[in-house]
């Protein structure tokens, strides 16, 4: 083998080994088993980031479907988990809208709303205008169709007003 090939192989091995060490120090696995797990998640994350850069990023439709089924069955914790897995890069407006909506439906109460869930919903809704400013949901089951309406619901739900003591509130419906 020629010396220049040995040198090239040496540079390649050094680069690969060096990257592996950088990965270990960045991922900080606590055991040998964790090295595999973290390596797998790092590879997946790199692949999705590569897809975003290449413009070929798509959500995982199967997981989105599972999330939608859980959402319709009022199992909002499971729904959010599936939606987040379906869209790990948080770049799909529809999925992000469902995530925010799930906070609304879970936190909504006939007498009072769950403030912590409403705040979380408001936070998750912040991403939406950046992804799709004019987003309108096409789901006929959702009574709130846009991010602005949903934000208004969250903000109104978090405020304490005289209207909160109106007994007619007991007959209102969840959207």
């Amino acid at each position: 083998m020629k010396t220049k090939y040995i040198q090239t192989i040496g540079v390649a091995i050094t680069a690969i080994y060096g990257l592996f060490i950088v990965f270990l120090y960045a991922a900080e696995p606590r055991s040998l088993e964790e090295v595999t797990t973290k390596a797998k998640s790092a590879v997946e994350s790199t692949v999705t980031k590569g897809q975003v850069l290449a413009g070929t990023y798509e959500i995982d439709q199967a997981k989105f479907g599972e999330g939608l089924a859980a959402f319709r069955a009022d199992n909002f914790v499971l729904a959010r988990d599936r939606f987040e897995r379906a869209d790990p890069e948080k770049r799909d407006a529809n999925t992000q809208f469902y995530i925010a909506y799930s906070y609304y439906r879970q936190g909504w109460g006939r007498v009072s709303n769950d403030d912590s869930l409403f705040k979380a919903g408001l936070d998750s809704l912040q991403r939406l205008p950046a992804i799709a400013p004019d987003f309108v949901s096409k789901d006929p089951d959702l009574k709130i169709k846009t991010a602005a309406e949903l934000r208004n619901e969250f903000e109104e739900g978090l405020k304490v007003t005289v209207d909160d003591f109106n007994p007619l509130r007991l007959v209102r419906e969840r959207k």
């Binding site: 010396t3 900080e28 696995p29």
Partner: protein, 259 residues
């Protein structure tokens, strides 16, 4: 038969060289040229190529692996009591000390920059040489990371001692061997201070809470608290011993020049 004749002829050629007084490479080449023996030239070329290959393998494959393994182990600790991996990234000070060490290597003649990089050399060789020196630098930084205590007063005391020694050495007239010996002594002392003395006064990780630990081990617990000593398992010392051993093995193999 013809093969046998050929081998015989080769042997005769070699014997004729063996009988002659000891000659260096250039003498041999000129002798070969003078005797006009293409076989001897071929044999000589073959052995030189083999030597060049083995040197390249040692330099560009073996050495980076040694240094990178040392760099990997330098920041690895095993947390007590479960032995979980803890990867400690080097402090900025370790990187600065590594630069000082490299300055020492160059001043002491352990590394000749002109011998590693050259305008006349192929790009691949320059890149490969850079990679080798980069791994040596990473290993040096990680060895400091290994030897300097992580936090608290011991960190500053040991760092100050290192800074003092390195600064002193920068202005001393050290040759290659003396520098290596001085470094081994310095690092061995720091190793003993951290992994024998400080580890010896660190209280073991108790599972019954701090009050129980304080009752069972008052002196060690107080020292651990006062000096802010991290609790690692004994395995950490062994790992760092191998890290140091690998590092010095790498330095021993590291030639002054890549040529």
């Amino acid at each position: 038969m013809s093969e046998l004749t050929k081998t015989k002829a080769d042997l005769e050629d070699i014997e004729s060289v063996d009988d002659s007084p000891v000659m260096d490479g250039s003498d041999m080449s000129s002798a070969a040229a003078e005797t006009n023996s293409p076989r001897l030239l071929k044999l000589q070329d073959g052995s030189e190529q083999a030597r060049e290959r083995s040197r390249a393998v040692r330099l560009y494959l073996f050495l980076p692996i040694i240094f990178l393994t040392s760099a990997l182990l330098g920041g690895l600790r095993l947390a007590a009591p479960d032995g979980a991996f803890v990867f400690v990234t080097p402090a900025l000070l370790c990187l600065i000390f590594a630069v000082f060490m490299f300055a020492l290597f160059i001043r002491g003649g352990m590394i000749s920059i002109a011998g590693w990089f050259s305008d006349g050399a192929p790009t691949v060789q320059n890149v490969a040489s850079g990679a080798v020196l980069l791994t040596a630098y990473a290993a040096t930084a990680q060895v400091f990371n290994s030897l300097i205590p992580e936090t608290g007063l011991p960190f500053w005391v040991v760092a100050f001692c290192f800074a003092w020694s390195l600064w002193n050495n920068l202005f001393a007239d050290l040759d290659n061997k003396k520098l290596l010996r001085s470094m081994i002594a310095l690092f061995a002392f720091a190793f003993a201070a951290k992994y024998i003395v400080l580890a010896g006064i660190t209280a073991p990780a108790g599972e019954g809470g701090w009050l129980r630990s304080l009752i069972e081990n008052p002196a060690k617990e107080t020292m651990t608290w006062l000096l802010d000593l991290p609790r690692y398992t004994a395995g950490t010392g062994y790992i760092q011993f191998f890290c140091l051993a690998l590092y010095f093995a790498g330095l021993y193999i590291l030639p002054r020049s890549a040529r």
